[in-house]
């Protein structure tokens, strides 16, 4: 695998995860439990979508075939999307929405902290800008995990159920393959193993404060999205909604 190929795929993965999580969060718009929380969630969605645009533009640039961020977002088929399966989990309720974001945010924070040191200037720059945003995401969603975990009996149960539903999707964040290895060698991508340790520690700390039970770390976890583009059955519905209009009018600009 050439460095360019790896860099293209790497940027795509980052772009897809932020895009799809941003999409899921934006589904809440107008339907949150309180106006203040609607605003906060939209804020996070906006940050993620902004990051997605940066990564996808960069992926298109690296690819060098004249495609744009919109070509990648709207004219790729499902099997060529490489987001984490975690990001496509449905919004069953506000609790699993917060938990999904929390799992991702903590990873995202430690990951970006390392990516700022990337030898690839573009990635380092995106990471530096994103890190400021994600610092707020982690704070916001950790606070909510604690508040809801240690709130009422009902909220505690909802959050514990959310953990049970989502836990098996967290392992994929730390999987590495040839793409990572190629870029780690070049000093472009961080090694995900130490990030996993930090992630586990932070999650544990927050769960302790939230009075939530920390699941055991299993060997097995869900995979497929990030590396193979094999998604859950939710992904097709996301894309049919998101891409419909540009697919109907392939020659239009908007």
């Amino acid at each position: 695998m050439t460095k360019q190929e790896a860099l293209y795929k790497y940027s795509l993965r980052l772009g897809d995860s932020t895009l799809i999580l941003g999409h899921r969060l934006s589904e809440w718009c107008g339907h949150g439990p309180k106006l203040e929380q609607d605003i906060a969630l939209i804020n996070i969605a906006l940050d993620l979508l902004g990051q997605a645009r940066s990564y996808l533009s960069y992926a298109a640039e690296v690819e060098g075939k004249g495609r744009t961020e919109d070509d990648l977002a709207y004219h790729r088929v499902e099997r060529n999307f490489h987001n984490l399966l975690l990001t496509e989990r449905p919004n069953d309720n506000w609790g699993n929405t917060i938990m999904r974001s929390f799992f991702f945010d903590v990873f995202h924070y430690y990951f970006l902290s390392e990516l700022t040191k990337s030898k690839d200037e573009q990635l380092a720059a995106i990471a530096a800008k994103s890190l400021k945003e994600v610092t707020y995401h982690v704070k916001h969603n950790s606070d909510w995990v604690i508040r809801l975990g240690d709130g009422t009996e009902k909220s505690h149960k909802i959050m514990q159920d959310a953990i049970d539903e989502l836990w098996d999707y967290t392992g994929e964040m730390f999987d590495m393959d040839e793409v990572d290895e190629t870029l780690i060698k070049e000093g472009i991508a961080p090694d995900l193993a130490p990030i996993k340790d930090k992630w586990l520690q932070k999650v544990k700390d927050v769960f302790r404060e939230a009075t939530l039970e920390m699941p055991e770390v299993q060997e097995w976890h869900h995979t497929g999205g990030k590396m193979k583009g094999i998604h859950s059955e939710h992904m097709g519905y996301i894309l049919s909604e998101m891409q419909y209009l540009p697919r109907v009018h392939p020659d239009a600009t908007w």
Binding site: C29, G30, E36, I39, I146, L148, L245, P246, H249, D251
Partner: protein
């Protein structure tokens, strides 16, 4: 009694002198009630108005448009909050105000009872609906109640930005493919008349208007505002190459203004009454949001209580 008379005089003098009324100032009960009604309606409109636009966020046709639309809806949520705060300066409780909405007691802008059926509707709403709102809001920057006036100054800036965005969407569509042009014209056809109705009934049929004008809550009549809006918007439509769906629309040299056809007020009052395409669904969406979020608000309260207790415990132990 004597005292009240003095206060009323003082109030009237301030209104005459264009001095803003502030929350701690004495004000007539009817003035207060009128303001609460108007500002909370405005707040509800911002919040309910999020829904027709939110309907297109997941389906926006480019990432740039998606982000802009999401940011716009966020601004509206912010305006809602800001306006609810303004009603609180008048002694209204936000929770009660919102309950009035959910029980169908309070109104919101009728325009949000129409569905957004194509992407061009997002353009048309920005251009026409925000355009009409700005017409009204610019006037309200000069309203006599201080907090409302200041809220309007802030809101107007963002609304103008939204309106330009909406117009730019229309411009892109109008210069686009055949299908896009059609989409743009169709959106104009559907949103034109409801936008004109946003200014409210004709002056002669508008119950609150006269008193509001006297109090300088309103500074221009419904019909004046509507005419200004039309005069401003018609050339914009021409620039887009779109046709305003009014066969009677014509430049009146004498008035230096556009004559326009009769507005279907039957439709307007019918929709206000609840018989619009989206009335039930809009309210249901807001009520569902509240109901589905009850456990979150309860948990947040319970946690805050626990936390206070723990901290009190720590302090007394120290």
């Amino acid at each position: 009694m004597e005292k009240e008379k003095d206060l009323q005089k003082e109030f009237d003098a301030k209104i005459d002198a264009e001095t803003k009324i502030e929350p701690r100032d004495w004000m007539p009960d009817a003035y207060r009630k009128n303001l609460i009604r108007q500002i909370s309606q405005h707040a509800h409109s911002e919040v309910v108005g999020m829904l027709p636009e939110a309907n297109w966020i997941t389906r926006a046709p480019s990432l740039r448009r998606k982000v802009a639309l999401l940011a716009k809806v966020q601004d509206e949520a912010g305006h809602g909050l800001y306006l609810y705060s303004a009603t609180e300066t008048l002694g209204a409780k936000r929770e009660d105000t919102v309950d009035d909405l959910h029980r169908g007691k309070a109104k919101y802008s009728n325009i949000f009872n129409y569905p957004t059926v194509t992407w061009a509707d997002i353009g048309a709403i920005g251009w026409l609906v925000d355009g009409a709102a700005i017409q009204n809001q610019v006037m309200l920057t000069r309203t006599s109640y201080g907090p409302y006036s200041r809220a309007m100054v802030r809101i107007c800036k963002e609304e103008s930005f939204h309106q330009r965005q909406g117009y730019e969407i229309m411009l892109t569509l109008a210069n686009g493919t055949e299908a896009q042009k059609e989409m743009a014209q169709d959106a104009l056809n559907r949103w034109w008349w409801p936008s004109l109705m946003m200014f409210g009934p004709s002056d002669k049929d508008s119950p609150h208007s006269q008193q509001s004008m006297a109090w300088k809550i309103k500074r221009q009549s419904n019909d004046e505002l509507r005419q200004e809006f039309i005069d401003k918007t018609v050339p914009q439509a021409e620039y887009l190459g779109l046709t305003i769906p009014d066969p009677d629309l014509k430049w009146n040299e004498e008035r230096e203004s556009y004559d326009f056809g009769p507005i279907n007020w039957d439709e307007f009052f019918n929709v206000i009454k609840g018989n619009g395409p989206m009335n039930k669904e809009r309210l249901k969406a807001r009520k569902d949001a509240k109901d589905n979020g009850a456990w979150v608000r309860e948990a947040a309260n319970a946690y805050a209580k626990k936390k206070r207790k723990r901290e009190a415990g720590k302090q007394s132990a120290a």
